[in-house]
């Protein structure tokens, strides 16, 4: 593997990263906070409850402990949730299940060592960004697909009721959309609704 001098913006921007640490006070937390300070991240510490995250939280490092299993973190699993790196002390199935629920890309094992945290942060942020991007891409594709389905259905109705060709049906839809200054799928949707209304 040839090294590259192209360094990811994620690494470059680490010094403006805000990390929320949800961890009980112990040696692991001391090691975590000291290493985050060396890396140069801003940190804010909570334990055990956090009902809402501070503004601009870019990453959450969170102890997954028996005492956190029953806690509900309302900011988890939403569209705006930041990536989470779990700090794991147990490897029993229940704890692993809790880790899986966090959709983590990497974990930090306890006892925490300074070595490895920087790489874990880089992996988590990079994979999180990539996953967000592909999620958005899928959403856009799905929306586009839905529009196409509506237009196809409307064309079908036009072809049946007016006896026109598919191309003519499309041109009629397009002309209506331009006239009403609306997206073509809105016009198509109205045609489908009208047909449903008429045919009950």
């Amino acid at each position: 593997m040839k090294h590259s001098t192209e360094i990811s913006p994620i690494l470059r921007d680490l010094r403006s990263l805000k990390v929320v640490v949800i961890h009980p006070p112990d040696e692991d937390r001391e090691e975590l906070l000291a290493q985050l300070q060396r890396i140069g991240c801003a940190t804010e510490v909570f334990w055990p409850r956090v009902d809402s995250l501070p503004m601009d939280t870019g990453l959450v490092v969170m102890a997954v402990r028996p005492e956190t299993l029953s806690l509900n973190y309302p900011w988890l699993g939403t569209n705006s949730s930041p990536p989470v790196i779990p700090v794991v002390t147990y490897e029993n199935p229940i704890t692993i299940e809790a880790v899986l629920q966090l959709n983590a890309f990497t974990i930090i094992p306890s006892p925490v060592r300074s070595f490895g945290l920087l790489t874990a942060i880089a992996v988590a942020l990079t994979q999180f960004k990539a996953s967000r991007l592909s999620q958005r891409y899928i959403e856009r594709l799905e929306q586009k697909q839905a529009k196409l389905r509506v237009i196809q259905q409307a064309k079908q109705i036009m072809m049946e009721t007016r006896g026109v060709s598919e191309e003519e049906a499309y041109q009629l839809l397009r002309a209506q959309a331009m006239l009403k200054r609306e997206p073509i799928e809105t016009v198509a949707d109205a045609i489908i609704k009208a047909r449903e209304t008429l045919s009950f």
């Binding site: 360094i7 470059r12 290493q35 300070q37 300074s114």
Partner: protein, 395 residues
């Protein structure tokens, strides 16, 4: 059998030493070994530490990274040592760290390296990139231009140094005309080919991250193809007085090095130490950045032992972070959080005696920042007095 239990007088304070006497980086490591012996002698002559003598247990790893873990275990288990000084290249330090962490021993590391490391069991007394590469990059880009040729030894430290340099070149709108890595055991002919290539490319300067035996090869090859150091110098943060003594002052004159110590540091303390070192080890010997770090870390350690009244690593780690010491370069300090050392960056240019004329210096010691990814130029560089006019026809 003589009892060594508490109650009887404690024996000497043992310090393990891992500097190579042969191998690719032996020339610099031998200076670190001598600095360690010199400092230990000074302390012992003054009555030792807590009335105990310092005893060095020195093993020779021969620059082979595979030897380091075994020798460290040997020091700890057979020689009952818990404090070790040594290592040069990063792979040797990486081999020692797991062992000292497992046995809760301490490693003092006196060599500039590429950063991105912290171990609670290591004290780093050499420069981090923000204390040598960064000042060097700023100085060279300001005074020579931004078309840069890079040549280095093929291992991790040069890659990282070149990454920092590349960033700053791009920031200045400059150009990296060439980036070559030669194996650690590359021959004279390889350096000659590289020098011919550099001559053709005609960069503004050469950034060298070559280490050890390759350094004299590079500078000789450079002179051999007729390149002029005053027009197109080699800039390095590894080339020291030790390598210049090998290649000869005539070949080295005019080239530029960034370091946190040069033998020419003009303070009464440094003049005195250099004179005493020469008197006891030989008048032809020179000091250098690695020598100085190896020297002051022994005194720093002795000071820490005095403060806690013991040589136990756990106790020493309570006082070493934050500890200050009057080193030959000036007052240094171990950072509380990253275990690296506040050092004073200098820019030196080789003179006709094979010593460095100091042509730039930071106004004060600089905190080591081993985890910085994006560097920004230090403010003191534009104020450096390069004295380049004196060198003749600098454009």
């Amino acid at each position: 059998m003589i009892s060594t239990d508490s109650g009887s007088a404690p024996g000497p304070i043992k310090i393990g030493v891992l500097y190579s006497r042969s191998g690719v980086t032996a020339s610099a490591e031998l200076t670190q070994l001598r600095a360690t012996m010199f400092a230990a002698e000074e302390i012992n002559r003054a009555g030792g530490v807590l009335g105990r003598e310092i005893e060095l247990v020195s093993l020779d790893p021969k620059c082979q990274s595979r030897n380091y873990a075994d020798l460290t275990e040997q020091l700890i288990l057979e020689h009952r040592v818990r404090i070790i000084v040594g290592c040069y290249m990063s792979n040797t330090r990486k081999a020692v760290i797991p062992v000292v962490e497992r046995h809760n021993a301490l490693l003092f590391y006196a060599t500039p390296y590429e950063g991105f490391e912290y171990s609670r069991n290591v004290i780093y007394t050499g420069a981090a990139p923000n204390q040598n590469t960064l000042p060097l990059a700023s100085f060279m880009l300001t005074h020579f231009g931004s078309r840069v040729s890079m040549i280095g030894s093929d291992y991790v430290c040069p890659y990282e140094s070149n990454r920092v340099m590349s960033d700053l070149i791009l920031e200045q709108g400059g150009e990296k005309v060439d980036e070559t890595y030669l194996p650690l055991n590359a021959r004279w002919e390889d350096y000659l080919d590289a020098a011919k290539q550099i001559k053709q490319l005609a960069p503004d300067f050469i950034f060298s991250t070559v280490v050890g035996e390759g350094i004299p090869h590079l500078y000789r090859a450079f002179a051999h193809v007729g390149l002029d150091p005053h027009r197109m110098p080699i800039a390095s943060h590894m080339t020291s007085e030790a390598e210049i003594a090998i290649m000869g002052a005539d070949v080295a004159e005019g080239h530029i090095t960034s370091a946190t110590y040069f033998q020419t540091v003009d303070t009464p303390k440094n003049r005195d130490i250099v004179a005493r070192y020469k008197a006891s080890f030989g008048d032809d010997l020179v000091t250098n950045m690695c020598w100085e770090a190896a020297y002051f870390q022994i005194h720093l350690l002795a000071d820490a032992i005095r403060r806690v009244g013991a040589d136990d690593p756990t106790l020493l780690l309570r006082v070493l972070p934050g500890l200050e010491f009057d080193a030959p370069q000036g007052r240094i300090r171990i950072d509380e959080h990253n275990h690296h050392t506040y050092l004073r960056p200098l820019i030196g240019r080789v003179n006709g005696q094979g010593q460095f004329d100091i042509i730039g210096s930071a106004p004060e010691r600089v905190k080591a920042d081993p985890y910085v990814v994006s560097h920004s130029l230090p403010q003191w560089i534009p104020d450096a007095r390069p004295g380049l006019e004196r060198a003749g026809d600098y454009r």
